[in-house]
Structure formats: C-alpha cells, structure tokens
Symmetry: C4
C-alpha cells in the first residue's frame, strides 16, 4: 500500500482493505496533530480523519495503486456513516482546493447506498478534474458484514480522530512532537475543510 | 477557544465544535480529579463532566467567545443524551450556586429536541441571571450526523468522566498528582451538584 | 464508601452511586487477577466482576454503610444486563457458599424489572440468611438515564473484567504482581462460582 | 487450556469459555503481528483473528482438550457475528490448506443460528477430514446473555485484531519485536486466507 518516505517518525499502516471485481477500497484512520501553545497547554492543530482510498482493478486479482484516489471523511461525515441503517444512503462532496485560487478545479463525490435486496451497500467515488478533463469512477460493492466492520472500526476511531484519546494520556509532550512530524504528503492529498 | 493560565500541568484542548448561524456549541470532556486517601488508595475527588459551551454569532462566520455560557453535563445527564432516539427530547435544569447563599440567582436550562422532519435536533440553552436582570438565549440546530458524533464521543467519554479508565492504569500516583492541579477556574464556572 | 486496609498496592475507587429514598446502590468493576505459569505465560486466575453494593437509608439523605449487601455480576450476567431493553426483566440467584459445606445458608436474589410507564427500572436485592434467620431487602428505583449509564459503563468494563484489556499490554509482569495482591477481603464477600 | 511451549515472549490467556452438555467453546482474540519496513515504518504482517476453540464432553463436567478443533474468524467474519440479530443465522466455510497442494483435504463449516423460542443460539462446527475419513461435529447451545458477551467482547476486540489499537501507541518498536515472536504453533492450526 502507501509507504511515504522521508518521515523520521515510525508510523503504522493497518488499513482495512476490501478487494472487489472493479476496484478496491481501504479504510485508514489518520490521527490529528497537536500544537503546544504559549501557555504550555496543547490543542489539536490539524484534525484527524478516516481516509478512504480507492484504486482500480486492471485484471483478475490485479489492482493499480498508481491510479488511486482518496476521500478524507471528517468527524461529522464519520457520524453520518456510522449511523447509516440498511435503508439509508449518504452523499458527500469535497473540493480539495476549497478556499484557494484552485477552488472548483477538482470535485469529488462519495456516495454510499444501501441495497437491501443485495444484502449490502454500493460505495461510489467520482473524481472530476476540470484541469485534466478527466473523470475517475470507482464502484465497490460491500457486504453487510464488511460494512459492519467499517462502522465498528470507524466508531472506535472517531474519538481518536477528534483527539479525545489523548485527554487521558499524560505524555502529551512526546505525542505532540511525534505528531508534528506526521507525513504531510499523505494529509495534503485530499482535504476539504 | 478557552486557554486557562497559571496551570502548571499541560492539558489538551480537543473540543468538538459546531458553528451555526446564530451561535456555536463546543463539546469537551473534563476528567475527574483523584485524591490519595490515608490508606494509600485513591478515590475520585471531583467528578468529571461533559462541558457544553455556547457562544453567540456576531456576524457572518464571527462569534464572540467573551459572551460564552457553559453547561456541565453529569454522568447521568450524559446517559440521557446518549440514549435519545430521533423522537425524544430532554431537558436539564442547573443552578450553579445550588446549596450556597446565592442559590436561585442564576438559573440555566438546557433542552435538546429532536426535529424528525428536519433530520436533526435543536439544542437550546437559556441562562437567566436574576442579579444582572439578563437572559442569554442560544439556539444551535444540529444535524443527525453531528448529533451522532456527540453521542458517540460522549459514550466514549462516559467511563472516563466516571474515572473508570483509571482502574486499569497502574500509575495512579502520577495521575493523581496531575489531576489535583487541574485548572479550578474552568471547573468552577458551572456546576450543579 | 469501602476502604479496605492492609493492602500494599494502591487501588482506585470510582463507584457509580445512585441514592434513592429507601436505599442506595453503587456499581463498581473488579478486575481479574493474573497468574504466571511455568511456561512464562500468564492466565486469568480469579475472574473479574461488576460488584453491586446496596445499603439502606436510615433517614433523609442518610445511609448506613455497615448494613450493606453485595452482589457480584459475572461476565455472562453483565451480558444479560447490558442487553436488557425497556420491556425486559432479569433475575439472578447466587449462593456465596456454593459447593462448600455452608451451601444454602445464604441465598441472594437480584431482580431488575423495567417499568415502562415509570420510565425506569426497579432493582431489587433480597438476601435470606438461614443461619441468622434474617432477610435483607433493598429496592432502588433507577431512571432510564441512570440505567443507560450502568449499561454503558458495564459494556466498557466487560472486556476488562474478562481480562481482554491486558492482551495488548506488554507489561504483563508488573500487572500480574500488582493484581495478585488485590484485597481478598473485598472479593470474598460474595462470589457464586 | 492451551499452553504453547518454547515461546520466549510472555502472552496472556484470557478465553471466554462456555461449557455445555456435549461440548465446550472458548473465544480468544489473537492480535496481529507487525513488520518493520525498510522505510522505518510498520505494517500489519499477519492479521489477527478471533479464535473459536471447540472440544467435546466425555462425561459430566469432563471435557477432552486433546480432541479440540479451532475456527479462526477474520475481521469480516467478526463483522457478521456482531451484527447478528436474534432472527439471523450465519455460516462460514474454511479450508485450512487453501491455495496449497493440500487444498480440499480438510473442510470446516461453522454455523450460528438464532433460536428465538429457546432464547438463544446454536453454534455448530463440522470438520470433515478427507485424509483420515473422519468428521468431528460440535454443537454448543448458548444463551442470549452468553451471545451478548461474545458480541460485546468481539466488538471490543475487532479494532485490535485489525491492528488499529496500535495507531495511537508510540512504542511501535517494542510491540513489533514482541509480536514477531508470537507462537506460530497456535496461528498455524487453522487459517483460511
């Protein structure tokens, strides 16, 4: 999967990956970063997220990681996902360059639709790039069991991406140093807020 | 947000904040404090809470933190919140000076009402101050997804504000020292029990 | 509350207590103890439990801790409690001296009954002592919010009383030493298996 | 229970065991192992699982551990289990030698069926060995309370068997060393992927 270079701090890659006929999806929590304030206290600097990565199939059991696209779910979007029942659907829109001069160049839409008769869900990602005039489409059908793993793991991760797991950890200093060196390459791939 | 001064122990600020048209709300867990007893054992000294902070909008995307009001949810009140279905409503009443000579001077009421048709909830805080003859009113409409984040994060935090996360932590001594220096300014703003 | 003496290891007391008109109840997790085997590995020695303590009211806001009775919920009994809906009821029977020559001398029964119309639950403990020819009865009505706190906290505690929280903790040695010195006075008060 | 030998790293055995008339079942989480990559980062090497162990009764309160059979639930299979309602049933098929020259020699099938009228579930394991021409069958009826413990404990364990509990743990090095020495004997007993 993705192995960033030039990052002096050891990180752990433990994605939950689902491989299907036309594409694969992996679910990966990204922790927030912390900043030490003049007061000596700490605050969340960059919020965490659940990073969804899609990459296409290029043959039987073969997938092309170079053609991946990512979608970073915020805490509130994770709230939408984990509260979905088997009758619900959700749709999210991101512009990675929002509030910059490049706003509107790339538009991402993620939709999750329950398919009650098929005992599962369809997860779709569309990435429209107005600059390169290209559109990437990914469709990953997931079973109810796979979606329950996504929901359970995201529920577990939610307080962590909010930074609440650190409230009870006395070793703030070490954690803050560590987090401030997190690989920016990864985080800058996609972020909408 | 709030940055208390004069507190020698590092603390972490990781509020979940929701900004809406007329006001903003942030949700922040406050851990309990511990006391060492003569027996060498420890007990919870001051109970933890979930601190809700409201502050008004004073323009587009501008909010006035100086006019904030807080409401501290006890463990049992958190139990009410996390068990709310999309048809329920809850109401809580606090008197920050209860059992003191100032009882009745300030009355706070928090109501949370599901609005099924609007796919969300209304969170209202009213603070009536009989001394200054003023009333502060805050209304924050939250979406179902935002409320799910509040419920999931508060469910995660509940055992922590009760102190149960420390049962498995052998380093009680350090924690107790740490907690006993928690900023009293913050905790004394509002507490009803 | 209860402060055992003569225990060299620091413990933490963080009960969730509910005070009502005729009696009070506190909910307290007791962690398992661990034993080092000849192989160098560890196993759970004495299982953990959720200890429910009842003590009677003897006046307004006055309770007599000396007349307390306890009931220790096993992991499976905790499973019953946390799966109770607002229409269910549960009943548990314990004989603290089961499988000993004193079997049958003391009989304890705990019942939890939902009272849908009253928006809450009745928790009853009856302790019949055939030796002293006495019966102690406790009735504590709890609100839905209080029961949700009990269920959420017990769900959090369940993997801990099973010892599963230690699977990821590398410092087994220290924990095992620590746990083996846990106050036996407390654990021997009531245990049915 | 099972005590592997020759493993220099201390491990903890804390199975949840249910003893019934014809067989017993124990539920035990197995953590993943981690590998340090050339980049200095870590990734999950061998995925974790929930190991179900069945062994037959050979008399009243007597069970024969030597005749045990195991079934290792993957993260997605755990997702199936924890999402089962009291009306559902699940069935899983494993071939421990899948993708090797021995494929098809041993076939395992696990079924979990809710029995609404009996207020519980039937857990069945069938192991057909074409080499030895033998079939082992285990049937363990579990109560709703016992199944709730299994579901709650497996929900707690799910992020751990995925390795997500390590995302917030800075001491990756130590953990990786530790995990890489995990007893292979145990893990090689049954694995389908």
């Amino acid at each position: 999967l993705f192995f960033p270079v030039g990052n002096p701090e050891p990180r752990l890659f433990a994605p939950y990956s689902i491989y299907k006929g036309k594409a694969a999806i992996s679910v990966n929590p990204i922790l927030p970063t912390f900043t030490k304030m003049d007061s000596g206290h700490f605050r969340v600097d960059r919020k965490g997220c659940i990073l969804l990565t899609f990459w296409p199939a290029i043959g039987e059991h073969k997938y092309d990681w170079a053609k991946k696209q990512v979608f970073a779910l915020s805490a509130t979007e994770v709230g939408s996902l984990i509260s979905m029942s088997s009758k619900d659907s959700s749709e999210f829109f991101h512009d990675p360059s929002m509030k910059s001069s490049n706003a509107g160049q790339v538009r991402k839409s993620l939709s999750i639709k329950a398919v009650p008769d098929a005992n599962g869900y369809f997860i779709n990602l569309n990435v429209v790039n107005n600059l390169t005039k290209t559109t990437d489409r990914f469709v990953v059908p997931v079973t109810t069991a796979e979606f329950v793993v996504m929901k359970t793991a995201c529920s577990f991760a939610l307080p962590h991406i909010m930074g609440w797991h650190r409230l009870t950890n006395p070793q703030l200093e070490e954690g803050a140093k560590k987090s401030s060196k997190i690989d920016p390459q990864l985080l800058d791939l996609e972020w909408d807020k």
